[in-house]
């Protein structure tokens, strides 16, 4: 193992973050100090927290003799649980980092033609995975516990825990590396075997991934699931000693309880397991590190032009072509599939919350809010977001739009239609779920549906105008689609406009929530008419702004 090569590879990988940070790519300058501030800061914060906790411990022990014994016991429990806890969150964080990286466009392929072994590549990759929050947390925890232990007299235990934490993080990252390589190979195999259906496999697979990830996430954050899980693992390590992932915790447990031989055995087992994981990751990298997923064959030699429906709806062939192209983009481009997270989250959040409230009646006001959230929010959020993506998602292929005979009006018409149709499809799904889950009255359903549709039309036109004005065609390392400033402007404008559209319903809502106000002075149907007028005016104004912005965009093709 050439350690210099490993260091070089890690250094290169950390520099890949420049694309994310740096705006100016010519005459690029970077201060090395700021790169390490985060890590230095974590270390310093860990020391400060350890020292403060130690001082508190000393002063509290002086006044209450029982406190020291209780604190010592608590610290020992923490030491025992920490390696497994670090392992779990490092696993989650490194996996999340991999998911994030899969959405980026820059090539992370190993430069295999250089005199670097696969072992060095693998080690560098494992260590690089830890850069970021896992490393920050280690740099915070280890000095904190070691410094605190100098006050409690548990320095050896703390030092052992610090080592175990580092090993646990490495173990987690090695597992992620194994999964990363397997995933590339596995997905490749799926594509090859499914042929034409591959794009649907990827699409549905991505949706399932989001669904599972967010189900776990909401389970953890909406209840005591996560904490309970960690406590169980920390306290029940002895019962599941045969699982290699708890061997680091078992090592500490053995030594702290005076079981030296058992401790030595677990040290050997832990080291062996880490070595085995590293060997497995290296072998997989050697075998599949340069694996190229096979081509996805969608059709074979059958030319089937599709012009029917959109033509009948009044779209020209150019506009129809753009709409069909975008439909394919959102079901085939992995980074665009993230738009589906919003409806999934919006449906899952109340459902998981509902599971927590199982058996308890939901108050009428709360039910009204949940209906509003499930009906109004997903489609409105989708329109707000999609509009900002529609131009920027073209990325570097925007030259095709620039060089083709596409007028600004056609461009806006096709993009706007897509935003509206897509958002209304989301409304149809979330509305159905909302109706089944919360049984709203017919009047509430009608009003919620109408308002959702109005919001989709209005917010879609606003976000498209902002998305056109602030389009960002940067693709590397990840598609940006809209400049940050314009994204914020869009959010603020959409929020204000959505409020303006819903304002006529305020009297009705006040009468529902404020006990003193018995009757609303504006009927919901009258409010709906007022709201429709406001939404229509806003939609028309921003649609025209979108066309104007598209004219500018096509003129300024050089940017």
């Amino acid at each position: 193992m050439n350690w210099k090569n490993v260091l070089h590879l890690i250094r290169i990988d950390t520099k890949s973050g420049r694309f994310l940070r740096g705006k100016r790519l010519t005459r690029f300058r970077e201060s090395r100090i700021f790169i390490y501030v985060l890590y230095g800061g974590s270390l310093a914060l860990g020391l400060v927290v350890g020292a403060l906790a130690g001082i508190l411990y000393v002063s509290a022990s002086a006044t209450d003799p029982n406190f020291a014994a209780l604190a010592d016991q608590a610290m020992l429990s923490l030491f025992l649980g920490l390696p497994t806890m670090v392992l779990i969150y490092s696993l989650i964080l490194t996996m999340m980092q991999q998911i994030q990286r899969s959405g980026t466009k820059f090539s992370a392929q190993a430069p295999y033609w250089l005199p670097i072994t696969w072992g060095e590549h693998t080690l560098a990759s494992i260590l690089t995975n830890l850069i970021g929050f896992p490393l920050v947390s280690i740099l915070f925890i280890t000095p904190a516990i070691i410094l605190f232990s100098t006050f409690t007299g548990q320095v050896v235990a703390a030092a052992g825990t610090a080592l175990a934490i580092c090993a646990a993080a490495f173990m987690a990252s090695a597992v992620t590396e194994v999964f990363r390589v397997l995933q590339v190979r596995f997905i490749g195999a799926i594509y090859k075997s499914t042929g034409r259906a591959a794009i649907w496999v990827r699409f549905i697979g991505s949706l399932l991934l989001f669904l599972v990830f967010y189900t776990v996430y909401f389970y953890v954050v909406s209840g005591t699931g996560g904490i309970y899980l960690l406590q169980t693992i920390a306290s029940a390590q002895s019962a599941i000693w045969f699982i290699p992932f708890v061997w680091l915790g078992m090592t500490l447990y053995s030594f702290l309880n005076g079981l030296v031989l058992q401790g030595i055995a677990f040290v050997a087992l832990s080291l062996g397991f880490i070595a085995a994981l590293f060997y497995l990751a290296t072998s997989l990298n050697r075998r599949y590190g340069l694996y190229e997923p096979p081509a996805i064959t969608v059709s074979r030699g059958v030319y089937a032009p599709k012009t029917g429906l959109l033509g009948r709806l009044g779209f020209s062939t150019t506009e129809g072509a753009l709409i069909r192209k975008d439909l394919k983009a959102f079901t085939r481009r992995r980074e665009l599939m993230f738009v589906f997270i919003i409806p999934i989250v919006v449906i899952l959040a109340p459902v998981m919350q509902g599971l927590g409230q199982m058996g308890r009646p939901v108050p009428a006001e709360a039910s009204l809010i949940l209906v509003a959230v499930v009906f109004l929010f997903p489609s409105a959020a989708m329109a707000t977001m999609l509009g900002t993506f529609m131009i920027g998602e073209e990325g570097m292929t925007i030259w095709r739009i620039y060089s083709s005979p596409i007028s600004p009006k056609s461009l806006v018409k096709s993009k706007y239609f897509f935003v509206v149709i897509f958002s209304l499809a989301v409304l149809a799904v979330t509305g159905t779920v909302g109706f089944i889950a919360f049984h709203p009255s017919l009047r509430a359903t009608f009003v919620a549906l109408l308002e959702s549709i109005l919001l989709v039309f209005a917010l879609g036109s606003i976000s498209l105008s902002n998305g056109t004005k602030g389009a960002d065609f940067t693709e590397v390392p990840r598609p940006r689609m809209i400049r940050t400033r314009w994204s914020f402007i869009n959010l603020i404008v959409c929020f204000l406009v959505a409020t303006a559209i819903l304002v006529p319903f305020v009297p009705y809502l006040l009468s529902s929530f404020v006990p003193g106000l018995a009757q609303p002075f504006i009927d919901p149907y009258v409010a709906a008419i007022l709201s429709s007028i406001i939404a229509t005016v806003i939609t028309l104004i921003f649609y025209r702004i979108s066309v104007k912005n598209a004219e500018e965009l096509l003129k300024k093709a050089e940017t």
Binding site: A295, V298, P405
Partner: protein, 260 residues
Amino acid sequence: MMATDYSSAVEIKKIVKRYGEIRAVDNVDLSIRPGEIFGLLGPNGSGKSTTMKMLLGLVQPDSGALNVLGIDVQKDPVAVKRLVGYVPESPRLYEFLTGIEYLDFIGDVYGMQTEAKKARINEYLKALELEGREGDMISSYSEGMKQKVALISAFMHKPKLLILDEPLSGLDPRSARIVKDFLHELKAQGVTTMMSTHVLEIAQALCDRIGIMYHGKLLALGTMDELREMAKLPDSALEDIFLKLTGTGDIRPVVEELLK
């Protein structure tokens, strides 16, 4: 706005394009006759691609006039685009589409009739040996295959003017030969071609007239014989003429320095 008869397929009058302090295109005058194959040569960064982009309205000149096929580019760029087939320097295609989906999209964008579109796509796929791969996602194509798709998308709507930036880059010899012969046939049908290339042998063999750009200026313009005369290099190949006219001909000392 569209003129049906025009004496020049491309008419460039005193165009200037600045990027900050750099004059990418500096006071260029150029006229290309209908049915001509015109080669625009020059070292990297000499202003060729910028000039070509300005002809399509993709880059706005700071001053000067551009007229393509009788249409003022700045006034009606969409009308120009409708009549032009364009292949950029490094064409980025929609990689999530299959080859045939991409070409279908292009046909629709140019308003082609379904039957004509189908027939032409099939002809080009066969000619450039993409048959059997048209149903694969473009992301799985090699660079040469992507270049073929970009070329087909420029040819398929039967444009009156072709603007091709490095059209043969990445092509296999057979496909390159097909494209060259095809450009000659199009010339006979009155189609004008403006192309840039760094392969000077291609320019010499293919182009009726050649323009050499350097530091944004049009240094030389004419047929091969006229260029030889200008460079005072009778019977020389285009490479020698190019190196002499651009003042980059003193290669030997550079090579000797590298060998030290």
